[in-house]
Symmetry: C2
Subunit: 344 residues, 2 copies
C-alpha cells in the first residue's frame, strides 16, 4: 500500500470528537473566533494541536464557492524582468492565504485554451494580468460565463475600464530624453519595444514629446525596432552601425535592449559613453554592474507587484469600490553610460 495516504490526515470531525464539541463549533473557532466562547475556543485549539489538524482547502473552497487561487498571467516567465514583480505579488497573496498560480501567456501549446480555463471563476478568485496584449473580451462580462476580477499590472489594455497598477511611462521616457538634452546631446535616437505594446507606445510618445519640447529633430530612421529583449538590442546596434548619419545618444525602452546594444557596439569598437550615450529603462539588477554601468529609469518592481496584489484583495473582499487605478512614479538613475557629447 502507498505510504502516501491522504486519509490519514485528521479531519474536522476528529477535532470535534477530541474536543467534545460539534464540527460547526470547530469550524467557527478556527474561522470566526469571536463567535465562540473563550473557553470553548481554548478546548478546540488544544484539540487542533493534539490531532495535528489542517484544513482541507478543496472542501472549504467548494463550500464557500471560491477557489483560493489567484492567477498571474505573465507574458514570458523566463524573462527575469517579471521575477521581482512575482515576488511582490507572492509575498502579499500567500500572506492572505491565497495560492498563486502562474500561467505563461506565451506558452507554445494551446495557450489560449489554457488561459481561458483560468479565466473562469471556478478556477481562480482573481487575476493579475501582466500582459496587455491579450484580447480584452476574454476578461469581459457579457457572456454566460462569470469572470473573476482582474487587475492589470505594468501593462494594460487601452480603453479598458479594468483597474491597473502602472508606472508613468511617458514621464519616464521624457526624463531619459531630458537627461540627454541637459548633457548637451542634440542628436538623440530611441530603441523601441515590440510594436503595438502599450509600453512601447507610451515611451515612444514621451520620447517624441520631449524631443519636440527641446526643439530637437525627431528622425524616423533614429527610431530603431526592438522587442525589449537582449538580442533585439544587438539588432538595434547593427542598425545604428549601418547608418551614415548616426545619433550620438540613444534611449532604449528596456535595460535588456540597452545591454545588448552596448554589447554589440563594444564588439565593433564603439565606446559608451565616449562615442555614444545610452539610457535604459527598468533598472534591472545587472544595470548597476554592466560595463559601463547603465543610466536608466528605475521601476519599483516589488512595489508594483505588492500593490497589484493588495488592490486585487481589496476588490475581492470589499463589496464597495473605493479601489482606484494607481500610477507609480519612476526615477532617473544616472550612471556611467551617459556623458556630454564629444565636441564635434
Amino acid at each position: 500500500m502507498n505510504r502516501h495516504d491522504p486519509r490519514m490526515s485528521p479531519k474536522i470531525v476528529d477535532v470535534a470528537r477530541t474536543a467534545g464539541v460539534s464540527t460547526a463549533t470547530v469550524s467557527r473557532a478556527l474561522t470566526a473566533p469571536g463567535k465562540v466562547s473563550a473557553k470553548t475556543r481554548a478546548i478546540v485549539m488544544a484539540a487542533v494541536e493534539e490531532t495535528g489538524y489542517i484544513v482541507n482547502h478543496a472542501a472549504r473552497n467548494l463550500r464557500r464557492q471560491q477557489t483560493g487561487g489567484i492567477v498571474v498571467l505573465v507574458p514570458n516567465l523566463s524573462n527575469p524582468f517579471f521575477s521581482q514583480i512575482l515576488s511582490g505579488i507572492a509575498s502579499v497573496l500567500s500572506g492572505a492565504a491565497f495560492n498563486v498560480l502562474i500561467a505563461d501567456t506565451q506558452q507554445p501549446k494551446g495557450a489560449d485554451r489554457q488561459i481561458i480555463q483560468y479565466l473562469h471563476n471556478n478556477r481562480a478568485d482573481g487575476l493579475i494580468v501582466l500582459d496587455g496584449g491579450l484580447p480584452e473580451h476574454i476578461f469581459g462580462n457579457g457572456d454566460r460565463q462569470a469572470r473573476p476580477p482582474a487587475i492589470f499590472a505594468c501593462e494594460w489594455i487601452e480603453g479598458s475600464e479594468k483597474l491597473s497598477v502602472t508606472i508613468d511611462n511617458v514621464a519616464g521616457a521624457a526624463m531619459a530624453i531630458d537627461h540627454l538634452v541637459q548633457l548637451g546631446h542634440s542628436r538623440i535616437g530611441h530603441v523601441m519595444g515590440p510594436p503595438d505594446n502599450v509600453l512601447t507606445i507610451r515611451r515612444q510618445e514621451g520620447t517624441t514629446a520631449a524631443l519636440e519640447r527641446a526643439h530637437l529633430p525627431v528622425r524616423r530612421e533614429w527610431y530603431f525596432e526592438g522587442d525589449f529583449s537582449l538580442p533585439s538590442g544587438v539588432r538595434a546596434a547593427k542598425a545604428w552601425l549601418a547608418l551614415r548619419d548616426r545619433p550620438d545618444a540613444v534611449f532604449c525602452s528596456s535595460d535588456a535592449m540597452a545591454c545588448g546594444f552596448m554589447s554589440e557596439l563594444h564588439r565593433h569598437g564603439v565606446r559608451v559613453p565616449d562615442d555614444v550615450s545610452v539610457v535604459g529603462f527598468d533598472d534591472i539588477e545587472i544595470a548597476e554592474h554592466f560595463i559601463p554601468t547603465l543610466t536608466t529609469i528605475h521601476q519599483p518592481r516589488t512595489t508594483i507587484g505588492e500593490t497589484a496584489a493588495r488592490m486585487l484583495l481589496a476588490r475581492i473582499n470589499g463589496g464597495e469600490d473605493p479601489v482606484q487605478s494607481i500610477r507609480l512614479p519612476v526615477d532617473l538613475v544616472v550612471r556611467e553610460s551617459t556623458s556630454a557629447p564629444r565636441i564635434a
Copy 2:
C-alpha cells in the same frame, strides 16, 4: 448585487439535463470516454458545448482526494536564475492539468509555517524543491501527517533518498579549471557560493580536484567567499584587489558573481581577460552579452525544470517506481573572458 456570481456557471447537472442522461454519464464521457458509447459521448459533448460547462476543480479534487496542485519551493523568487527552470516546470505541469503553486522559501514572514502548510498532502499532490537548505525531516514520513512526493531539482539534500534532477557540478567545475589550465594558467582562484550549499561544496570539490590533477597550487586565500549574487561577486573582486599575490585566473561558481567580479575589476582598471581570466557557471542570458562576453559552464535550465516535472508526474501516477534520479550533463562555453596569461 455582485456581477461576479459563481452560481451562474453551468454545473454537471445542467449538462446532464440538456443531454438527457445522468450526471454519472456526463462525468464518464468527460474523464473516461472509453466507458461511454460513442453515441452518448457525442450527445454529452454537444451538451457541454451548448451549456459552456467547465469542470469545478474544487469539487473534483475533493471527491478524488487530490489537490490538483504542485508546489515549487524556490529559494529566491526574485533571482532570475530560477525563472527559466520555472518556465520548464510550468509548461509540463499545466499541460498535465496541474496548477503550479510557487512558494518562496526566503519569504520574510512566517516562511516556515507557510511551507509546512504546503507540505501537507491536502494542499499539494507533489513538490518540486529547488532549495537544498531546508531541513530534511519536513519532507519525511514518520510523523502522523502524510506527505506528498517531493523531487529535488538543481539543489538536493546530501544523503537523502529523495529523487533529484541535478547537473554534474563536480565535472562542471573541473571543466572550468581544465579550460584555464589548457590556456596556460597556473595561478587559479575560485569564488565560492554560499557556505554549506551543496552546489558550493561540489563545485569547490571539482575545482580542488582539477587543480590537484594539474599539480597546481590550491591556496586557501584564493578561495573567495560568495553567495551566488552579483554583489557578492563585487565583494570577491575587492578581496582579490586586496591581495598582494593574486591569481591570474578566477572560476566563479555563478555567472552573477562573475559579472559582479568583472564589473568591480573594471572599475579599478583591471582588464579581463588581459589581466585576469574569468569563468562563470550557469550561462544565464546576459553571459553572452556582457563586456567581455563570459566564458561559462552551461546549465540546461529549461530541461532541468521539464525533467523534474515529468519525474514528479511519473511518481504521482505510477504506482511502481522505475523513476530514477537524473544527472544532466553540462558544457563549457568559451567566450571572451578567458585567454592565455600574459607572459610574466
